[in-house]
Amino acid sequence: MNKSILIAAGVVLGGGFAWGLGSDNLITVNNSISLQWNDNYYQAPTNKTATAVITEQPEILVNINRENTYLGVHYRPSFVWYSNPAIQRREVVNHELDGNWNQTLSSRITFSIAETLRRGIQPEMLDRNNALIFPDQSYFENTLNGTMGIQLRESTRLDFSGRYYYMHYDDEAIATNSNYSIASAGLALRQELTQATTVSGSFNYDQAAYPQANVRSATTKSVGLGVDHSFGPRLLSSLSGGYQFKGFTSSAISGQNSPYGNFSLTYLFDPRLRLTAGGGYSLWEADITNYASQERLTGFASLGYDISARLSFFASGGITHGKYRADQAAIPGAVVIEGANQTSVTGVTVMDGTDSIYQFSARLSYQINRHNWVDLGYGYTTVKSDLRPDFDQNTYDVSWRVSF
């Protein structure tokens, strides 16, 4: 709670500071209140628990623009109420804070800092028989990115970047195995070949540290090439790929070298219809405990369509497919006994397996007037997994947004 107060105080002070700088600064306040029906709050395979959810989200945006300086702050708390009395903790508050600082030092040198803080309250979930569905997963997540860009020549740019990522869970049992940080450094060299094509080369070094579960700590080096190409005025594409070399601190866990790749397309069919699609494959931090890593394949597509001057439609779909290896089981202090496609670790069977998440969401947005919008939304999520219970979840929502 103290940290929450600090966050709020920081935002208020920052906002006040910005306000005091003069009339060129821009502070925008928005608000959104939504009513949602969630048919599977517990994300359970059977015996689903449905609930109505009311979410109140004020939002403060601060923009400071000077000739060589840009500062942007975004803060959005969420006050959430659940209607179903079977839910143990029916009121939670989440926080989102984003800060951006872009600075031009000279005609050739720029730097930027981006800060992202998330405070999420995810209380434990018990079923009707008081059996544990999920432990308390409340967390702090912070990402601090810094980049310095140097324009070496008119068509050549060099970027140096650093990042510190920090994930901290409140619950002691989860924190022991899953609190971690990633320190990263990298560089990217970009060369514009033509007006439509830019190629790049990059190198990254990531060091993931699990303070209380060193068995999961790892270092990853990545080298890659990329190309950004414009196929025409309305179609942009990006493609990158390379190779990753991942090694774990613990000799009990197999290291892994793997290719990686990402692509994305953005297409403006006409002034009213646009489409974005993409995908990627790479090694990734595990989303399921007992594993040190996963191979993650993702794909997504989204479109936006302005039906009329006031009515817009958005739809998105995505797939996340994770592959887990038994020989990358990560339980601190455990004895690993390998068998055919499975590893017995102190009585817990850890096996090769896959974990797939399919998501779809749609939203209809109607602009009542310059400052007010009403949205209708639908979301569907399903998980198919060898490693955890499958489930599906539908949500329906109506919300009112206002910009002051």
Binding site: M148, Y205, G224, R234, L283, F314, N341
Partner: protein, 187 residues
């Protein structure tokens, strides 16, 4: 950690060299290019938080296109900004594009701004009325956990037009007896 220190040292060295080089070069004056305009609009529309930490020109353009903001003939990084392009992009960033009488006529976009009392004599004046977008759309939906650095996107629920429900990470210890067939293949 040594590698990170080495990279930092290389950065500082490169900055020093480059700074030395730039002090001997007179400042260049040039026309405003479309990439410079795109960066300004991303900042004024409060879209910076949806960019990767070291965005390429294509990242700026893709983000603006996902929010339906583009010149008539698309974004070209080095191309100087014309008054037509400036007027069109500003109107689209104000989310008033559908109010333009004859959108196929470039002059209509200028007339629309002038009728509203906005001046477009300079980039600064034309972009002055811009505000943060009320419904920002990010170009991708996935969070940045462990992702390669050059292409990371902001974490959390990136606004993507349609919002995705979070899927909880799974911490429950696995059962000592597997309940499903072993579909995963060892690599």
């Amino acid at each position: 950690m040594k590698i990170i220190s080495a990279v930092v040292a290389v950065v500082m060295g490169a900055v020093t060299l480059c700074s030395a080089a730039t002090t001997n070069t007179p400042p260049q004056t040039a026309q405003v290019t479309q990439i410079e305009l795109a960066k300004l609009i991303v900042e004024l529309a409060h879209l910076s938080r949806l960019l990767p930490p070291n965005p390429s020109d294509a990242d700026y353009f893709a983000l603006l296109m996902a929010n339906n903001i583009a010149p008539e003939k698309g974004w070209v990084a080095d191309q100087p900004v014309s008054r037509y392009d400036l007027a069109r992009v500003c109107v689209l960033a104000l989310k008033q594009g559908s109010s333009v009488q004859s959108p196929e006529n470039p002059q209509s976009w200028i007339d629309y701004l002038v009728d509203k009392g906005y001046r477009i004599d300079t980039i600064g004046l034309a972009t002055k009325p811009l505000q943060p977008l009320a419904v920002p759309v990010g170009p991708t939906m996935f969070s940045n956990r462990g992702q390669l650095m050059p292409r990371v996107v902001p974490s959390g629920d990136v606004q993507y037009g349609a919002l995705m429900q979070p899927v909880r990470e799974y911490f429950k210890p696995l059962s000592s007896t597997a309940t499903s067939s072993n579909k995963g293949a060892r690599i």
